[in-house]
Symmetry: C2
Subunit: 334 residues, 2 copies
C-alpha cells in the first residue's frame, strides 16, 4: 500500500513540510533535495492522501487570476488563452482585479492564502515596489506563476516577453524614421517590464543616435492627468518628434492630444506603442505597434500552472519563459 | 433579545424557508406576505442568527460576476463600476467568463449554487435560450441581479438600457442621413437586448421609410466567419448603404471589410454601432455610436445587489431599472 507523507518524511529525516514542498516542486527546496525526496517516494510507494486530495478537488477546481486592470487588450487576450487551458482541465478561473493599487493586491493576496484555489496566476500592479505580501503568498504552497508583470524578488515560474529587445527595436524604428527627439512614456518607475523597456530605449539611443534629445515622462492611472502631461509635452517649441508609449492607453491618449491640438501624425510626431488594440490598423492614422503574443502568454502561463498543480516536474528552462513580441510598422511612423 | 427565524416562522404559521425568502426579498414570495413577515419581524424583534451570519461573512465577502465575454468595452467599463461599489463595501469580485457558451454558463451556475459567494451579478450568453439553470440558481436564495443581457423568464432585479429606443434612434439616424438599404447586424436571435434593438430597427423603418430595403444578418462569435458574412453582404451590386451593428465587434469587423475592399465610409456605406470603444473618435473615419452608460450600469447593478445582500427592501421601481444610452453622431454617418 505504500507510505504516507509522515512516514516518507521520517524515512528521509526531513520535516513533512519540507517533503510536501519538495513534492510540490517548490522553489524553496534545492534540486538535490527534491531529487532525493522523489526517489525515496518512488521507492517506498508514497501516495498522496487520497481522501485529502479528493476533498481538495471537491472544494476547488478553480484557479485565481490576479491582474492590475481589465481595460487593456493585453490582459483580455491573455485571459482568453488562460481560459482555453482551464476549460480543457474543467477548471473555473476566478479573475481578481487590483486596479493598479498595491493595497488591493495585498488584500487579494491575503484572501487567497486561505487556500480557496488550487493555483494562482498573477501580474503585479505598477505600484508594487514591495513584495512582502507576494513572499507570504508564495509560502503557502499554492502553486504561483507570474506572467508579464513579474516580481523579480519572488522565486517562482515567470512568463514574460522580450521587453528589452522590444524597447530597443521600437526606439531604433523611430530613429530610422528620422526622429531627433524621442519621448518615452511610462506609467511607473517600479514596473519590472517598464524598466527593461526603458533600458532598451536608452541603449538604442546611445548606440544609434547618441546626440539625440530624449524625454522620459512618467504618467499615472488617470487618463485626464495623462492627457495634460502629454499636451504639455507636445505644445512647446522643442517638442518631441517621436513618441514611444510603453503602455497602450498612453498611445490612445497621445492620439487624442494630437487630434484635439491639430498635431499631425506622423508629419509632426511619429508614434509607436506596445499594444494589442484590435483597432490599431483602423486608427487615423494606423498605429505602429509592438504586439505581444498575449493569447500565447496566457496559454503558456496556464499550462505551466497546471503542471505545478498536477505535481509534474518542470524543466529548468520552463522556470523563466520568454516569448517574442512583434514590431508591426504602420502609418503612424511613416 | 428578540426571536430567531424558527420562532418567527412559528408565530407567522409559515415555513422557515418562506420566512427566510421573504426576509431576503425573494420574488417567489408575494408582496403581501413579505409585508406581513417584515411587520412581525419588527414587532417581535427578530435578529438574524449572528453566529451564522458572521460565519457566512468570514467565509465569503465576495460576489460573483458572470459575463459572456471580456474583449468588449461595455463589460470592461461595467466591471469598473461594479468594483467601485464592491471596494467601498470591502468585497472581492470574482469574475467568471462564459465565452458566449451556454454549457459554460450552466457549469458556472451549478458551481455558484454551492453558496461560495454572497451575491451574483449576471449577463447571459447569446446562446441562452433555455433558462432552467438560471431558475435553479435563483432558487438558492443567493441574491441575483441581471444587467444588460437579462433573462425575461427569471423573476429578479434587472438593470438594462433603453434598447428599443436606441435601436429606433440609430435606424432613424441612418434614414435621415439618406440610407435606402440598411443592414442590421446581430450575433444571436435569442438575446433579449438584441430582440429589443431589432424591434426598434423594424419600427423605425416602418414609420419613417417603409419602402426601404432591409437586411438582417445574424453573425456568430468567430471574427473570421463574421468577416466573410459582411464581405459577402457588401460586395454585391445592391449592397446596403447603411449598417447598424448591434454589437461593437461587428462594427470593427465591418470597418476591416471596408478598409480591405476599398469601400468608402461614409460615401458608400454609413455605419453606426452600439459601442463603448475608447478609440471610436480616433478611427478612420470616426465611428458614430450608441453609447451605453456602462460604468453606471455596473455601479447601479452592484448597488442593488448589496441592498439585497444586506436585506434592505427595494422599492418596486428598483426591480426593473432602465438607464438611457446616448447617440453620438460622428463621421461614419456623415
Amino acid at each position: 500500500m505504500g507510505v504516507n507523507l509522515k512516514q516518507l518524511a521520517a524515512e528521509l529525516q526531513l520535516s513533512t513540510s519540507t517533503v510536501s514542498r519538495a513534492l510540490h516542486d517548490s522553489h524553496e527546496i534545492s534540486i538535490e533535495t527534491k531529487k532525493r525526496v522523489r526517489e525515496m517516494a518512488d521507492k517506498l510507494g508514497y501516495q498522496a492522501n487520497p481522501y485529502a486530495s479528493s476533498l481538495r478537488k471537491q472544494k476547488s477546481k478553480t484557479i485565481a487570476l490576479v491582474i492590475p486592470e481589465i481595460d487593456n487588450n493585453f490582459f483580455t487576450l491573455a485571459i482568453n488563452g488562460i481560459e482555453e487551458i482551464a476549460q480543457s482541465k474543467d477548471y473555473h478561473v476566478l479573475i481578481y482585479l487590483t486596479h493598479e493599487d498595491l493595497q488591493k493586491e495585498i488584500a487579494v493576496s491575503k484572501h487567497l492564502q486561505s487556500g480557496r484555489v488550487d493555483g494562482i496566476l498573477m501580474s503585479v500592479t505598477s505600484q508594487t515596489d514591495d513584495s512582502t505580501h507576494l513572499k507570504e503568498l508564495n509560502k503557502t504552497n499554492i502553486p504561483l506563476v507570474f506572467f508579464d508583470r513579474i516580481s523579480d524578488e519572488i522565486n517562482t515560474v515567470k512568463i514574460t516577453t522580450d521587453d528589452y529587445n522590444s524597447g530597443y527595436n521600437a526606439t531604433k524604428h523611430l530613429i530610422d524614421a528620422g526622429c531627433k527627439h524621442i519621448a518615452y512614456l511610462q506609467v511607473s518607475e517600479a514596473l519590472s517590464i517598464g524598466i527593461k523597456r526603458l533600458n532598451g530605449f536608452k541603449d538604442a539611443i546611445k548606440e544609434n543616435s547618441p546626440g539625440n534629445k530624449t524625454s522620459i515622462v512618467t504618467c499615472g492611472n488617470q487618463n485626464e492627468d495623462n492627457y495634460n502631461l502629454i499636451q504639455n509635452l507636445l505644445n512647446v517649441p522643442d517638442a518631441p518628434d517621436g513618441i514611444f508609449a510603453s503602455i497602450e492607453k498612453l498611445a490612445v491618449t497621445a492620439y487624442y492630444v494630437c487630434h484635439d491640438s491639430n498635431i499631425g501624425i506622423p508629419e509632426q510626431v511619429k508614434i509607436i506603442s506596445f499594444s494589442n488594440l484590435s483597432t490599431a490598423p483602423l486608427l487615423n492614422p494606423s498605429l505602429s505597434t509592438i504586439t505581444q503574443p498575449a493569447f500565447e502568454i496566457g496559454k503558456k502561463a496556464a499550462q505551466v500552472l497546471f503542471r505545478l498543480i498536477e505535481q509534474k516536474p518542470l524543466d529548468d528552462d520552463e522556470r523563466n519563459i520568454i516569448l517574442k513580441s512583434q514590431l508591426i510598422p504602420r502609418n503612424s511612423t511613416k
